[in-house]
C-alpha cells in the first residue's frame, strides 16, 4: 500500500511537469512580446525593459524555465499585473471560500443523492424510480443561474430567511457561514444530486442482480439491510469516482454560482484574471487546478480499496 502511494505520487511528477511546461510556454509563445503583454497597454518603454530584464527574456528558453520553476517551488508565482498583489496571497485568499463551498455542496449532494439512487434502484420501474429519474433530468437541464435566482427569490427576497449574498468564512462561526453558504451550495448541489443519483441507481441495479443478493435474501435478510449493507458497498466504486470528480470540479471554481451569490472564490478570480489578461494569476490557477485534479484522483483510487477488499495496492 505504502509503496503504491509512493509510486502514484512519483507518477504525479511528469504530469505536473507537462502542465508547468504548457503554462510556461503559454506566455512565451503567444504572439507578441511577453513583456508588452505583462506590462499592459499603457506601459512606458522603461517599464518594458525592466520587465524584460526581470523575466530574463533575453536568455535561452531553458534557462528561463528553470528560473521560473525554481521561483514557483519557493512559492513565488509573481505579482498580479492588475492589483500588484503577490499572486500566492491572491489565490490563497480565494481558496478558502471555494473549498468550504465545495465541501458543503458535496455533503448535501451525497446525503440526498445516494438514498435517492438506492431507492430508485430498489423500486425499479415504479413511480418512485420515474420521479427520481425525472428530477435527475431536470437537475441536468435547468441552468444553474436559474436555480440560483429562484432560490434567492424564494428564500431571501420573499421569505427573507437568508441573506441574499456574500460570504463569511467558517472561522466566523457555523451559523453565519451556513446562512450565506447554504443557498449557493444547494444551487450547485442540484446538478450533483442529479449526477450522483443516476450513477448510484445504475450501479445498484447491477449489484441487485448479483447472486450474493439472492443469497442474502435466502438468509432472511431484510430489504433495508440488503440495500444499504450488502448492495451499497459493492456499488461504491463508481459512485466514489463520480463524487471525487465532482469535488475536483467544484474546487476549481464555479463561476456562475459565485457570481450570483457574490462569493469571492476561485471561479470568479479565474474569470477576472482571464478577462484582464492577468497572466501570472492565470498561470498559478492552472497549476493549482491541475494539482487538485491529480491529488483527488489519487484519493479516489485509494478509496477503492476501502470499499472493495479485492482491490489491493
Amino acid at each position: 500500500m505504502l509503496s503504491y502511494i509512493f509510486k502514484r505520487v512519483l507518477s504525479v511528477v511528469p504530469v505536473l511537469f507537462l502542465v508547468s511546461v504548457f503554462v510556461f510556454l503559454m506566455l512565451r509563445l503567444t504572439p507578441g512580446d511577453p513583456a508588452a503583454i505583462l506590462a499592459g497597454d499603457n506601459a512606458t518603454p522603461e517599464t518594458l525593459q525592466r520587465i524584460r530584464d526581470a523575466m530574463g527574456l533575453n536568455e535561452p528558453l531553458l534557462t528561463q524555465y528553470v528560473k521560473w520553476i525554481a521561483g514557483i517551488l519557493r512559492g513565488d508565482f509573481g505579482t498580479s499585473l492588475i492589483s500588484g498583489v503577490e499572486v500566492l496571497d491572491l489565490v490563497a485568499k480565494r481558496v478558502g471560500p471555494s473549498i468550504s463551498l465545495a465541501v458543503l455542496t458535496i455533503i448535501i449532494a451525497v446525503l440526498v443523492a445516494i438514498p435517492m439512487g438506492v431507492i430508485a434502484a430498489w423500486k425499479h420501474r415504479s413511480w418512485v424510480d420515474y420521479l427520481v429519474m425525472s428530477f435527475s433530468v431536470l437537475g441536468f437541464s435547468v441552468p444553474v443561474f436559474l436555480v440560483g435566482y429562484v432560490l434567492l427569490l424564494v428564500f431571501s427576497v420573499k421569505l427573507g430567511w437568508l441573506p441574499p449574498q456574500g460570504f463569511k468564512p467558517l472561522s466566523a462561526g457555523i451559523a453565519p457561514f451556513l446562512e450565506r453558504a447554504i443557498l449557493p451550495a444547494l444551487t450547485l448541489a442540484s446538478i450533483y444530486i442529479a449526477l450522483i443519483a443516476r450513477m448510484t441507481r445504475a450501479a445498484m441495479l447491477d449489484v441487485l442482480n448479483e447472486d450474493y443478493i439472492r443469497t442474502a435474501r435466502a438468509k432472511g435478510v431484510g430489504e433495508r439491510r440488503i440495500l444499504f449493507v450488502h448492495a451499497l458497498k459493492n456499488a461504491a466504486v463508481p459512485i466514489a469516482t463520480i463524487v471525487g470528480a465532482g469535488f475536483a470540479l467544484l474546487i476549481s471554481g464555479v463561476v456562475v454560482t459565485e457570481t450570483i451569490f457574490n462569493i469571492p472564490g476561485i471561479g470568479r478570480l479565474t474569470v477576472d484574471a482571464v478577462l484582464a489578461r492577468d497572466y501570472p494569476v492565470i498561470q498559478a490557477l492552472i497549476l493549482l487546478t491541475a494539482s487538485v485534479y491529480v491529488a483527488i484522483n489519487l484519493l479516489i483510487d485509494l478509496s477503492y480499496s476501502l470499499f472493495d477488499p479485492r482491490i489491493r495496492y
Binding site: Y212, R214, R217, A218, G220, N234, D308, P309, R310
Partner: protein
C-alpha cells in the same frame, strides 16, 4: 458405492408441494410450472432432474419465496413446510422462516458470497437476524459449523474475504451458512456444477454427512445423472414445467417409465472408453514438442514472479483422430489449447503444423496458417457476435482468405444443413437460437475454412446432456467426412471416454499421464488420474443399460 435404498417411510413428511402453478407476470401469462407436486421426508434427498428451462430452479425459488417479483407469480397450489402453508405467509413471516426453517445453496460459489464482507461475518449475519445470542456465543457457533463443514484453518478463514478462498471452500461456507440454524429443509440448486470433480465428490459427501447428522430433508436440483445416482433417495424428472416421472432412485434408473427419462438416461455418456481407431496414415498433422508457457508478472519496482501455466507437453495427432486434454480447473489445459492456436505465444518448445514450427511465427507469417487451425469455445452465448447475422459470422473467415461472397454463402448454407439448422438461419441473429443451436453454428463456422485441426475448448460443457450427445455426434460425423483432427479439451471424463482416441491428463501445468483413452481411462497408472476417475459421479452405474457396471 451403490444406489441409496433407505426406507424412510416411517419419517414425517417435511415438505409437501401440491399442484404448484407458476406463471409469468404481466398481461400475457405463460405457464412456467404446470402443477408440480412432490414431498420430502425427514432425512430424505429428493433429486429434481431436468434440462435447462425445465422449471427445476423455479420450483426451488418458489419454495424459498424468492421468485423474481416482477417476472414470475405463483398462481395456485400449496407449499407446506411441516404442515404450514408457506404461500399464505406474509413477506415478513416468510423472511423469518428463511435460514431458520428452510435454507438454500446455489450453483455459483464464486458469485454467491458478498465479495466485500468477510465470510465469518456473512455466516454470523444469519445468527444476527434469527437469534439473540451474545457476540462470543455467536462466534463459537460459527466456528463450530465451519468445523463441521471441514474447513481447514478455521480461525484464518473466518477473517477471510471470499476471493481469498477456493471454489470448494466457498461452497463449504455456503453450506455452513445454510445449515447453521439446522433448518428442516435444505434446497441445493446445482451446488456442485461449477466445481471440479474431486471437489464435487467432497461436497456431495459433506451434504450427505450433515444430512445424516441433522436429519435434514434435502431438495437437490441437478442436470447430472451421475450426481443423482450418488445421492438421491427419490428422483423427480422434470420437463417443460411438469414432473414426468418420479419414484425411488433404483426404480427410475432401472425401469424408466417415461420416454423422456429413457432418452435422458440414454444420452449420459458412458465412462467405459471406446477403443482407439486405427491410425491409418500415421503422419501427424499437428504435433507438440516439449511445449510450455510461463507467465511472468511484476513491474520494475515490484518483485518478479513467474507461473508455469503448462510445460513439457508432447503429442502427435494424425488426421481423423481425436486427442483429449483432460484436467481440472487451473491444470493448464486451456493454456495448451491457446498456445496451439497461437492465441498466445508459447515460451518453450515447438508446435509443428504439417511439420513447420509455428510456435514463434509473427502475426503476419501466422495468417496463412490460421485457416488450418480453428476453435470452438465453451460458452455458446458469448462466442458469436450478438450484433452480426449468422451469415456474417460464418462468412467472415473465408472472405478474409479471399473467397467470393457467393461461394462463402453457398458453403455456409451447405454446412448449416449438415449441422441440422434451417437455411433461413443465415439471416438471423444469435439470440434467436438456443444454446445447442448456437454451438452447432459455432462448429459450422469453425469448419467453414476447412481446417486441418479443430480445437474444441470445453465445447459441450455448457450444454444439456441430450444436446451434448447431438453435438458430439455432429463432431464425429464431421470428422468422418472431412478427416479433421480434433483436440478436445474437457474436464468431463465421460465425454473424453466417448470421443477420444488418445488422452493427455494434466495437473498443475504438467502432463501426468498420456496414452490411448482405452488404457488411460480403464487402467490408469497415475494416482491423479485414478482420483479423477474415482471422483466421476455415478461411475458405478451404466445409465444407458439401466444396471450397475461390472468392473
Amino acid at each position: 458405492m451403490e444406489l441409496r435404498a433407505r426406507d424412510l417411510s416411517h419419517e414425517p413428511v417435511i415438505v409437501q408441494i401440491e399442484d404448484l402453478v407458476v406463471e409469468t407476470a404481466g398481461k400475457t401469462r405463460f405457464p412456467v410450472l404446470k402443477g408440480v407436486s412432490l414431498n420430502i421426508r425427514r432425512g430424505e434427498t429428493v433429486c429434481l432432474v431436468g434440462e435447462s428451462g425445465s422449471g427445476k430452479s423455479v420450483t426451488s425459488l418458489a419454495t424459498m419465496g424468492l421468485l423474481p417479483k416482477d417476472a414470475l407469480v405463483v398462481r395456485s397450489g400449496t407449499i407446506r413446510l411441516k404442515g404450514e402453508n408457506l404461500l399464505a405467509l406474509s413477506p415478513s413471516a416468510m423472511k423469518d422462516r428463511r435460514a431458520r426453517d428452510l435454507a438454500m445453496i446455489f450453483q455459483e460459489p464464486m458469485t454467491a458470497l458478498n465479495p466485500v464482507m468477510k465470510v465469518g461475518a456473512q455466516i454470523t449475519e444469519v445468527l444476527d437476524l434469527h437469534s439473540r445470542m451474545g457476540t462470543a456465543e455467536k462466534r463459537a457457533r460459527v466456528i463450530d459449523i465451519m468445523e463441521q463443514v471441514h474447513l481447514p484453518d478455521v480461525q484464518r478463514i473466518y477473517d477471510s474475504y471470499p476471493h481469498q478462498l477456493s471454489g470448494g471452500q466457498r461452497q463449504r461456507i455456503m453450506i455452513a451458512m445454510a445449515l447453521i440454524l439446522e433448518p428442516a429443509l435444505l434446497i441445493a440448486d446445482e451446488p456442485t456444477t461449477a466445481l471440479d470433480v474431486t471437489t464435487q465428490k467432497q461436497i456431495l459427501s459433506l451434504i450427505a454427512e450433515l444430512q445424516e447428522k441433522h436429519g435434514t430433508a434435502v431438495l437437490f436440483i441437478t442436470h447430472d445423472m451421475g450426481v443423482v445416482a450418488e445421492i438421491a433417495d427419490r428422483v423427480c424428472v422434470m420437463r417443460h414445467g411438469e414432473i414426468l416421472e418420479s419414484g425411488p432412485i433404483r426404480e427410475v434408473l432401472e425401469q424408466p417409465k417415461h420416454v423422456y427419462t429413457r432418452a435422458l438416461l440414454g444420452s449420459v455418456p458412458s465412462l467405459v472408453p471406446r477403443e482407439a481407431r486405427d491410425d491409418a496414415s500415421g503422419a501427424s498433422v499437428i504435433a507438440a514438442r516439449n511445449l510450455g508457457k510461463t507467465y511472468h508478472t511484476g513491474s520494475f519496482l515490484g518483485k518478479k514472479s513467474q507461473v508455469r501455466a503448462s510445460f513439457g507437453v508432447n503429442f502427435d495427432l494424425s488426421p481423423g483422430r481425436t486427442l483429449g486434454i483432460v484436467g481440472e480447473s487451473g491444470s493448464g489445459k486451456t493454456t495448451v489449447a491457446r498456445s496451439i492456436m497461437r492465441l498466445i505465444e508459447p515460451t518453450e518448445g515447438q508446435i509443428l503444423l504439417d511439420g513447420d514450427d509455428i510456435a514463434h511465427l509473427s502475426p503476419s507469417a501466422m495468417k496463412p496458417k490460421r485457416k488450418k487451425l480453428q476453435v470452438v469455445f465453451q460458452d455458446p452465448f458469448r462466442s458469436l457476435n450478438p450484433r452480426w447475422t449468422i451469415a456474417r459470422s460464418m462468412t467472415e473467415g473465408p472472405l478474409n482468405y479471399g473467397m467470393s461472397r457467393a461461394d462463402a454463402l453457398a458453403e455456409a448454407k451447405r454446412l448449416l444443413k449438415i449441422v441440422s439448422l434451417p437455411e433461413d438461419a443465415l439471416g438471423r441473429y444469435p439470440h434467436q437460437f438456443s444454446g445447442g443451436q448456437r454451438q452447432r453454428i459455432a462448429i459450422a463456422r469453425a469448419v467453414m475454412l476447412k481446417p486441418d485441426v479443430l480445437v474444441a475448448d470445453e465445447a459441450v460443457s455448457a450444454l444439456d446432456v441430450s444436446v451434448q450427445a447431438q453435438v458430439l455426434d455432429l463432431l464425429a460425423e464431421l470428422q468422418r467426412q472431412t478427416g479433421i483432427a480434433i483436440i478436445f479439451i474437457t474436464h468431463d471424463l465421460r465425454v473424453a471416454a466417448q470421443i477420444c482416441d488418445e488422452v493427455l491428463v494434466m495437473k498443475r501445468g504438467e502432463v501426468v499421464e498420456q496414452g490411448p483413452a482405452s488404457r488411460v481411462l480403464h487402467q490408469p497408472q497415475h494416482d491423479y488420474t485414478r482420483a479423477l476417475i474415482d471422483a466421476a459421479p455415478g461411475r458405478f452405474w451404466d445409465f444407458a443399460a439401466g444396471k450397475p457396471l461390472v468392473a
